[in-house]
């Protein structure tokens, strides 16, 4: 079959792709020079703050901003939600103030008086019985004959309750924007995952609210973003408000959320709870699944996680109840609905394996065929992960029988994700002096997007990574997709590859006559353009580009496009090794291993970083994170970083990442990696704790109080 011209180079020809390469913006970041939205200082900049609802459910009956307006230094006060509006969660925005300094803006907010008629609120969904009218049936599925399968006298049945609470994204750079009008043009500096998509959203919202600005007058800039994790796709109401404040004040305005607001309203991964029943034959073959799941994502409730997860159990019945609560609205959080599905499924199946007295590695390997076309990938990953954690030596059946109060255990989990590349356009520019630029309206969330683009262009053009300048973070650049759902690496690597191949072809055509070699017999290697098989006939890259004379070469690369450069669908297995102190209830991570595939890896170093980071984020939500809501007031109790705990450097144990590469993986092309490795840690750690203790701690986070309660209950039973 004729090889497609854009195809990734063969393994033997790859100089850069798949190697460990330092991220190209590393020096800028580590030296503190990277400018985030939060760091933008402009002449005359005003700072905005927001008065927010103290009540979780209330109607606004009166607003008095007069005292705030009188305060020296206050430039603009705007009512966001006026009298008569019904507030649905504590912390919702009511009035915005722009002033000459942050402190004065805060003073002004304190002078705003709002009266409310309080309405009943509901903020706790863990107990389905209490949800009343807040619960709505939200679908389900049936396959095979679950009744028959469960009633077979030869099956072993395990039943349990499992859950994962709402957590908040807690981006270290809070959400926010700076807005600056120059005549009829609006520029926003935005902390966003969606540079190309933001102007359209901002323009539409402004026009709906009476500010007539066409999308092409709006430019969004985001060179660095301090975390998003799925929570920064939209400008949000505060992003529209800041543009209106700037227009009203005739000055640029910065509005970054305070930490408490960030925690309360700008990030929420929906909760997921379920009552689950599973059955297997005595030989361990899983035959039936029955789940009733529920959860909340704020007023809009939730949709059902993909249950049962990874394994397509032949006889199944699922049912989901969506619960609306008076809490900040849910947002996409890395791999939406998958960490929930993994926790619910993998814990239920692990309990079943324990009831069957089966080793979980054996149990999941045996049932891997239920994963369909990726069965073999899972088996390979199970083997690899088991080897890395020394499963043979360290695993024991449920309940560490050794003497002493510290119990040790191992637990595993499987996950899956899509990750096909998004739509992406880029310009590849070769200048007559030999310098090269790749320009696109993408963004680098810290995932290594800039680096991936540089590596692909450098590989294609036969240049070192440092020779490529990557321009991203401006909506005036060719449009490229939002960074969500692990779609970025596939999108930008493919558009860059196509653009670079075409640009090189054009350059070769220009250079060919002077070398007396047909263009299709020329290649770019090691900073030279040379004849295939005759290295004597060559020009340096600079000499070659000089042949362009005054003509700069610019080519557009696109994704999707000709030749498949990526695909979709990955597996992944993680195993945790933990110990639990049965006197204090403290869980300690000794080691966690990940075996992860993602097709062809462009930069192994930043790919591994994605996995390390995801495992650490996973340890954090497994052991510490929960958005704690106060029943009485309906407010978030831990809306700050001392009570909303993140893991620290001493909490993570030893981490081992193994990327599955080589034949069987590389030929799949690029597939995204942002989501997959963050899915399994909760389930793996929960299963490890169950293995250590001999009892299940049913819900995350696995805090000491829950460990002690589970031990007490387990002992009494």
């Amino acid at each position: 079959m004729a090889k497609c011209k854009y195809d990734w180079p063969e393994a033997s020809d790859r100089r850069l792709i798949g190697k460990r390469i330092n991220r190209i913006d590393g020096p800028t970041k580590s030296s503190g020079r990277a400018k985030y939205t939060y760091d933008i200082n402009l002449p005359g900049l005003l700072v905005a703050k927001i008065y927010r609802s103290p009540y979780a459910h209330a109607k606004i009956t009166a607003i008095d901003t007069s005292e705030a307006e009188k305060l020296p230094g206050v430039k603009t006060v705007r009512i966001i939600q006026g009298v008569g509006k019904e507030i649905q969660w504590a912390g919702d925005e009511i009035v915005a103030v722009a002033a000459v300094s942050e402190d004065i803006a805060d003073d002004a907010v304190r002078k705003i008086k709002v009266e409310f008629e309080q309405l009943p609120h509901f903020v706790h969904e863990e107990d389905l019985q209490q949800a009343g009218d807040h619960a709505k049936e939200a679908g389900g599925e049936k396959g095979g004959d679950p009744d028959k399968a469960f009633s077979d006298p030869d099956v072993v049945i395990s039943e349990g309750f499992y859950g994962i609470p709402t957590i908040t994204h807690c981006c270290l750079e809070a959400h926010g924007n700076v807005a600056e009008w120059t005549g009829a043009n609006l520029r926003t500096y935005s902390s966003t995952q969606n540079v190309s998509g933001l102007p359209g959203q901002i323009g539409q919202a402004l026009r709906e609210q009476g500010v007539n600005v066409p999308d092409n007058n709006i430019e969004t800039i985001c060179n660095y973003v301090g975390g998003g994790f799925g929570s920064k796709f939209s400008p949000d109401r505060w992003g529209i408000e800041v543009a209106k404040l700037a227009k009203a004040a005739g000055k640029p305005v910065k509005l970054m959320l305070d930490r408490n607001m960030e925690m309360e309203v700008a990030g929420a991964r929906p909760s997921g709870y379920a009552q689950i029943k599973v059955a297997a034959k005595k030989d361990g073959t899983i035959v039936a699944w029955d789940s009733h799941s529920w959860g909340t994502g704020g007023p809009a409730g939730t949709t059902m996680p993909p249950l049962p997860y990874v394994l397509n159990i032949p006889n199944k019945i699922t049912r989901h109840t969506s619960i609306s609560t008076n809490t900040g609205p849910g947002r996409a959080w890395r791999a939406p609905n998958h960490p929930q599905a993994a926790l619910l499924t993998m814990c239920a199946l692990d309990d079943l394996a324990a009831k069957l007295n089966m080793d979980p590695v054996e149990f999941f390997s045996k049932n891997a065929d239920l994963a369909g076309e990726r069965a073999e990938v899972y088996r390979q990953e199970l083997r690899k992960a088991a080897e890395l954690i020394d499963w043979q030596k360290n695993w024991h059946p449920r309940g560490d029988k050794s003497a002493g109060t510290i119990k040790r255990g191992l637990g595993l989990s499987l996950h899956t994700w899509g990750g096909r590349g998004h739509n992406s356009n880029c310009n590849v520019t070769i200048h007559p002096d030999g310098s090269v630029e790749v320009t696109l309206g993408s963004q680098d969330l810290g995932t290594g997007t800039r680096t991936v683009i540089a590596v692909v262009a450098a590989e294609t053009l036969g240049l070192p990574v440092e020779a490529i300048r990557v321009n991203i973070g401006d909506s005036k650049f060719p449009s490229s997709g939002a960074s969500g759902g692990s779609t970025t690496v596939g999108g930008v690597s493919a558009s860059t590859r196509r653009g670079s191949v075409d640009a090189l072809q054009q350059l070769l055509a220009v250079v060919a006559p002077s070398l007396g070699v047909p263009a299709d017999q020329l290649v770019a290697v090691d900073g030279h353009i040379q004849a295939k098989g005759d290295a004597a006939k060559k020009l340096t890259w600079k000499e070659a580009c000089a042949k362009l004379q005054v003509k700069t070469l610019q080519v557009t690369g696109k994704n999707p496009g000709q030749c498949a450069l990526g695909s979709s669908g990955v597996g992944g297995v993680q195993i945790a090794d933990v110990s639990v102190d049965t006197e204090t209830g403290l869980v300690k991570i000794h080691k966690m291993v990940a075996a992860q595939d993602c097709g062809l890896i462009i930069d192994l170093k930043t790919a591994e970083s994605q996995c390390y980071g995801a495992m650490i984020m996973g340890i954090t939500y497994a052991l510490f994170e929960e958005k704690v809501m106060d029943r009485a007031t309906g407010r978030m109790l831990n809306n700050n970083m001392e009570f909303y705990k993140l893991a620290g450097i001493g909490d993570i144990g030893e981490l081992v990442v193994h990327m599955m590469t080589g034949p069987g993986y590389d030929e799949r092309g690029t597939i995204g990696l942002g989501e997959p490795p963050v899915i399994s840690p909760g389930a793996a750690i929960s299963n490890a704790v169950a293995n250590a203790l001999g009892v299940r701690v049913p819900t995350l986070p696995i805090t000491p109080d829950k460990v002690l309660a589970a031990l007490e209950k387990g002992g009494a039973a």
Binding site: L172, G226, L646, A647, D705
Partner: protein, 214 residues
């Protein structure tokens, strides 16, 4: 606002960090007192003399250079650095002495700049992330962060780098356990700790080599 010039009580983070307390406590809420007490300890001893509420002139010595400015006494060192002097490397994340994103070095010791008033910092030597490198020449800690990919979004990174530098000044030959204890006062959401651990150990070696060759 009371002011005491030139002398601070225990503002610095010790090698032993608050996180060690926090992670050990069973309920998130029950840990609050510790954090609050420690934050309380950061308040300077009171002395007679009232400043403000209006802006007062101060001179801050930052990265070896004096900067004169007028600030309200309530303005933190962090806000003065970021909003008035455009030294934006130190970040405001928690704004209450938990995360370390705002770490700067004060008289050789790492401090949370969000927990210190600008007027209290007068008369002290302040070093920020901007003072640790020149264009084109990274500090060995920064180089080690790049080599070990100890940064993702990078928002926590300047605070981490400054904290690591101050830590290594005091512990030139740390073990991994020392690193985990000494840097427990800096938090990262992207999960870069594995890289940071390696980076600090590498930077320790580079710095020691540099000293030996001195």
């Amino acid at each position: 606002m009371r002011r005491k010039k030139g002398k601070l009580r225990e503002l610095h983070k010790e090698g032993f960090s608050r996180r060690d307390f926090l992670k050990g406590a069973s309920m998130a809420v029950s840990t609050g007192l510790l954090a609050t007490q420690e934050a309380g300890a950061a308040t300077p001893e009171t002395e007679p003399g009232v400043l403000g509420p209006g802006a007062v002139p101060i001179t801050l010595e930052i990265n070896g250079k004096p900067h004169s400015l007028k600030v309200e006494p309530r303005v933190t060192l962090l806000d003065a650095l970021r909003n008035r002097l455009d030294l934006t490397g130190a970040k405001k994340v928690c704004d209450r002495g938990v995360c370390g994103a705002c770490t700067v070095i004060l008289d050789g010791r790492p401090v949370y700049a969000c927990n210190l008033l600008a007027i209290e910092a007068e008369g002290h030597h302040i070093v920020t992330i901007e003072g640790l490198s020149t264009e084109g020449k990274l500090h060995p800690v920064m180089t080690a962060f790049v080599n070990h990919d100890a940064q993702q979004c990078g928002f926590c990174t300047p605070g981490f780098v400054v904290a690591c530098k101050a830590f290594l000044d005091k512990h030139p030959d740390p073990t991994r356990e020392d690193v985990e204890r000494g840097l427990g006062g800096n938090l990262c959401r992207c999960g870069t700790y594995a890289g940071v651990r390696e980076a600090v150990l590498e930077a320790a070696k580079t710095l020691k080599g540099g000293r030996a060759n001195g």
